[in-house]
Symmetry: C2
Subunit: 441 residues, 2 copies
């Protein structure tokens, strides 16, 4: 088990000045990992770590002799654009990278001269989905979301009897996962019409969903469940995840086998994976409220009860085309906290996924489901904020929304803060809606 | 559009004598493609074509100068064990391979001496999942299955109002897909108990599902739907697919987001991909019965109406441990025909999957859903053959089954025949149930 160490010391500062700015998401205590290349170049994406407004080129840092041998070997084993070989190594190598960079980036480090040439400005790079995602599973751990949405789809039966026993999940589509900055065309499809005869056309109820995504580190062999006591060792780190949703397609198609075309046209993640180590100071107890059923033994564990939850502030921001044209910044639509929103922990999601013998692989992505807070204004989707499209949301520039319009950019943000520790953030997870494309004849 | 040509001539015979046996699945008119290596070797899997009881080593055939240049280039572009680069090329290259091998393998071919050394006995090889499967989608096109199963899960509402409009599908798990010969441990998980409190334990209602799987050839870019008129050009070929299902896990977990742990512990496919070209003589019109709703325009097309269906006989066989010990062969449990069982065609599945802009990739796998025939004894799963476990199935050796027991081997088979054409088959898709593994403490 990994615990807080000197890499979390709030007094640490870096010789990369921008990392010391109070508002940065990427102080020296964070050190999230991603895949980057110089903007406009055709070279392969390479592993990097964000620090302030810079990226540490990890292969260059390896060449410069700043990283331990096992970290270098794991980085060099990665195929271009794919962090999977590094992710497969597990916590030891990840901690090795964290400690080495924390030392080398500190104010006054003797390694500054060697590492300085390995920095690239974030403004000069493009970022990619950081690994080959072989499997993407989306869970449904947001109990306030499940209850609100359940009411809209099934007024008499909002929360299914299984919800408080089973970490409900389903398989998502990997091919349409993109990184922050993704834009996609409004999906088209079947929409329920009168008398159960569908109409065809562009989605009229296009929505976002505020989620976190957990990347799997080491996998497990087929037929070998991961017990709760080991589940944390299989987690690599977290990103933000926007599970774009076409509500009208979903309402018509989802029975009996779940969402399909309503979701698989696009999913956007943030580019920087915040490691489980960086999140260590923000762990929280996982306690079921009085009267709630206790988890079955395979979903229970001492570590999970003690520190299975995470205290993470989550936010959704919207910038419409009109705001962009008027030079207005995005406007915040809501905020919630992961520890109040999720009925199941990341460890429980992972243990449940494997309990039947299903094998996970390094780089697999586990979505948490929409993380709405307990009160109505904390809905993690427009479906919730507008009561199923019935109450318009008024924006500060006078515009209104029930669902997303073409040109809208949705930005998800997250950060963690706690007295005595440095605030860390996730960076933006932004995506933009483009108009539907007319079908070819 | 590809049509019947001289490679389908029923009078063709091969100098590979076993390919001329009436009972072979792999006459010279078939030429299915798979990935093989010598049994017990550690070498990478390489592309091969089945002929009688032999495999043509395609890279060796390329070296021997038997194949056209574009076919050789596509084969050499394949990563070890992954046919994807070849699949991406589309029909032209696939037809080139078919024509070259049909010529070279014919009785009296001048190329016999060159090709002979490229043959390996099937008894001396092991076979693999033929490509990297980045996406696996399982459809639900078997209308008799959907109706029978719907009655068990939802007596009042067996077929949802969307069924005759939407080719229902959901995303499956790729990591647990194995090839014929796969064995897997009985899954464990939550099973509904009294008063909606679940029990935990090994699955008690383990089942198979008889499906076909279609491999995607060329993909489509994100945001660009494949119109019906082009859908066939994106299909590579077919395998058998056993969608193993844990019915008790499924009944408890599946609402509201569909099957998850009930399915993702194992999926077995047959190793030889029967190409769309080999299936050409067995195409059939796709006609909606009187009174059925007509497909929406994006799911309709002249070619689909004229020849979108496939006349394929499907079978399920069972060999219990007791049969194996007594030296008894597998026993046939049912047969059905794809053209009578499927409410939607392969082209409609593919067009629907992309209509919202979702991108498909070479090597993606599309399951058809369980292909039960119209009468009760044609159920494609034990759930159907035993009326939800209520009527025992009596086997000829005196054993009975409601659901699968440890040691049971299920074999799926398929073949196509039509007067004037040579019968072709798919080979076996076999999988065996192992006992549940006790959880680690």
């Amino acid at each position: 088990m990994y615990r807080i160490d000197d890499t979390h010391d709030a007094s640490l500062t870096s010789w990369v000045e921008s990392a010391n700015a109070p508002a940065t998401d990427f102080p020296i205590q964070n050190l999230p990992i991603g895949m980057f290349r110089r903007a406009g170049s055709a070279e392969g994406f390479r592993p990097g770590v964000a620090i302030g407004d810079q990226v540490v080129d990890l292969l260059a840092a390896a060449d410069a002799g700043v990283l331990p041998d096992d970290v270098v070997a794991a980085l060099r084993a990665c195929a271009p654009g794919q962090l999977n070989a590094f992710m497969a190594q597990g916590r030891g190598v990840r901690v090795g990278l964290r400690r080495a960079l924390s030392q080398a980036l500190r104010q006054g480090s003797a390694q500054q001269a060697r590492l300085q040439p390995c920095l690239v400005a974030q403004s000069a790079v493009e970022l990619a989905v950081p690994c080959r995602i072989d499997g993407y599973t989306d869970f449904y751990t947001g109990i306030h979301h499940a209850t609100s949405v359940g009411k809209l789809f099934r007024p008499d039966n909002p929360l299914m009897p299984n919800y408080k026993w089973v970490p409900i999940g389903y398989h998502g589509r990997t091919s349409s996962i993109g990184v922050s900055g993704q834009s996609f065309h409004r999906p088209q499809g079947q929409i329920k019409g009168a008398a159960d005869v569908p109409e065809f056309g562009p989605c009229r109820r296009l929505d976002y969903e505020l989620e976190l995504g957990a990347f799997v580190g080491p996998g497990n062999p087929l037929g070998r469940p991961v017990p709760m006591a080991e589940a944390e060792e299989h987690l690599f780190g977290l990103v933000l995840l926007n599970d774009w949703s076409a509500r009208d397609l979903q309402a018509w198609e989802y029975q009996p086998l779940g969402p399909f075309l309503a979701k698989n046209f696009a999913t956007t993640i943030s580019p920087w994976i915040v490691t489980m180590e960086a999140l260590e100071p923000f762990r929280a107890p996982f306690v079921r409220a009085e009267g709630e059923p206790q988890p079955l033994p395979y979903l229970d564990g001492a570590e999970n009860r003690e520190r299975g939850a995470l205290d993470l502030e989550l936010e959704v921001w919207l910038q419409t085309a009109a705001m962009r044209e008027a030079g207005l910044p995005p406007e915040r639509l809501m905020r919630s906290n992961f520890k109040d929103a999720a009925y199941w922990t990341l460890a429980q999601m992972l243990a449940h996924h494997t309990i039947n013998g299903c094998n996970l692989q390094p780089g697999d992505l586990l979505g948490t489901g929409t993380q709405s807070g307990p009160s109505p204004e904390q809905g993690g989707s427009l479906l919730e904020l507008t009561a199923g499209g019935k109450q318009e949301l008024r924006l500060s520039n006078g515009e209104t929304r029930t669902f997303l319009r073409d040109g809208d950019t949705v930005v998800l943000r997250a950060h963690a803060e706690r007295p005595g520790f440095r605030r860390i953030g996730f960076g933006d997870c932004a995506g933009t809606v483009l108009p539907a494309v007319p079908l070819s004849p």
